[in-house]
Symmetry: C2
Subunit: 311 residues, 2 copies
């Protein structure tokens, strides 16, 4: 893999599909993941080890992880809600495991049916389990700080609370935290001050990624600030599909196609061939004819004479 | 008027309406302009002194300017294509007059049917005319550098060419230039380097504003970069209506509602009450039932507990 400037981490097959009514057939998911990997995407969140009763869209996660591990060089990420999911994720061989922690306790009760204390206990059990594994078999373990920029149920979320929870989970032994704008209410200044607060209290290497939503159209502005201050991983989803089912009004992740266009235009190498990426979008569009896909670049096409950093 | 951090200059009544098939009745335009002024907007481009055969949407510009001048404190801006338009604009009493200059000569022939040399000559005549007026009666005279970020017809536009034209028109005596991303292909790094190039060659006070399009979803990211480097005026249009009729695929100005949300969220005072602005949008939506309005904030609503810088 060649050196990239910003890692665009695709979350469509997990965060995207989870929110849709349609269930994408396993073979179509595999074709999507493979095509996107071949277009240059180096990290994909391919599924979630959650109840297949609640999320039938993700019931095939073990098979999808096994397939994705066969794509040499792809960093295979998954989501888990608890220790049980983590054990299954480890067994599947995922390279990176994220667990969401809602900074808003109201959202925590809605999304994971757990209080903050219960979440801390669960995370501690996860770390304890991971420490029983030989070091070379341990996946990266990340806590996603959901509702870090505000909560659709609670409203404002104090920065101090976000930073305090980041400190606590880092103390418990997780590798990294990720700042998640679950409600899509964040702004660039807030992103900068939250990241700097976490860096000051936990160390620079403990926060490298952000997960942004485009609910109020602020996604790329927030992403720009993220790369300006040195965040190196940005989650996004093809066609902007996704959003949290327990966060009213919070439609859509930021759009991979538009994010890659911005970064590549700025001379930042994502490793992704945007023309191939637009072909992957067509594939997804055909597979999800009833779903609304977001994104401006696919509609307008690339500018005449466009040449991205990775080309 | 209280001190603001960023001037959001509304171009919907000119750039927006010009691109639509619908012709908005004069009384509805007046109601829009008044409502948006009352919501706190301090500069509005209310019309254009162009041929009313080509642009029947703007045939009422003299009446609209007269009405707008009655809104005490509103900076009334208009567009003109040539000396004839400028004379009419001066007669109407507009406070600010912009003339577009396409950096891409191909676009210049399409948009204004003039070569670069013809445009320089026209601008010189305009300056000569303005200099015959008593100083206190002279409006601000600005050149909009169209296609400064790239052209849908020519492709890449060299920065050197943009800066060279900026120097030339400043030498001819215009007050200011504005960087216009007519084709919506610009990126934040490009915006920064173009602005810095013009500042170095023409002086900081000669470039204070940008005119951005959202064709590839990059509008707010570009606007963020603009305010970060000290640009103090950003054009935008309610519902993102507009775009250049001679720039294929170039749909939509940046959306005023989402821009104001970004700036106010960041603690930057625009003077605009965003809740009132959303009421103005509803008024425009009702007046243009067949037109597509863009914007995310109006769809999702303001975040729970939101309080902007101007509130």
């Amino acid at each position: 893999m060649k050196k990239i400037d910003v890692l665009v981490s695709e979350v469509g097959p997990r965060d995207g599909l989870q929110s849709l009514k349609s269930v994408m057939p396993t073979e179509v998911k595999k074709a999507w993941i493979q095509a996107q990997f071949e277009a240059g995407t180096q990290e994909i969140e391919v599924g979630s080890f959650v109840s297949s009763k609640i999320f039938p869209q993700l019931a095939d996660t073990p098979e999808i992880v096994a397939f994705s591990r066969g794509l040499k060089g792809l960093h295979v990420a998954v989501l888990v809600p608890n220790l049980k999911g983590l054990r299954n994720a480890v067994e599947s061989g995922a390279h990176k495991i994220s667990i969401p922690f809602s900074v808003s306790e109201t959202h925590s009760f809605h999304n994971l049916r757990r209080s903050h204390q219960q979440m801390f206990d669960e995370i501690e059990s996860c770390v304890d389990f991971l420490e029983t594994l030989p070091r070379q078999e341990r996946p990266d373990f990340e806590v996603g700080l959901s509702t870090a920029f505000g909560c659709a149920l609670e409203g404002k979320v104090p920065a101090k609370k976000v930073i305090g929870i980041a400190e606590k989970v880092i103390e418990l032994g997780v590798d990294e935290v990720c700042l998640s704008d679950t409600a899509g209410s964040g702004n660039p200044s807030q992103l900068k001050s939250l990241a700097e607060g976490i860096w000051q209290n936990c160390g620079r290497e403990k926060l490298k990624s952000v997960h942004l939503h485009n609910t109020r159209g602020q996604g790329l502005a927030n992403a720009l600030m993220a790369v300006q201050i040195g965040i190196s991983t940005i989650d996004s989803s093809m066609g902007g599909i996704g959003g949290c089912p327990f966060s009213p009004g919070a439609s859509g992740n930021i759009v991979t196609e538009d994010l890659v266009f911005m970064l590549e235009s700025m001379g930042l190498n994502t490793g992704i061939d945007i023309e191939e990426l637009l072909v992957v979008r067509d594939m997804i569009k055909n597979a999800l004819p009833q779903e609304k896909l977001y994104g401006f670049t696919p509609e307008s096409g690339l500018p005449l004479g466009f040449c991205g950093a990775s080309q």
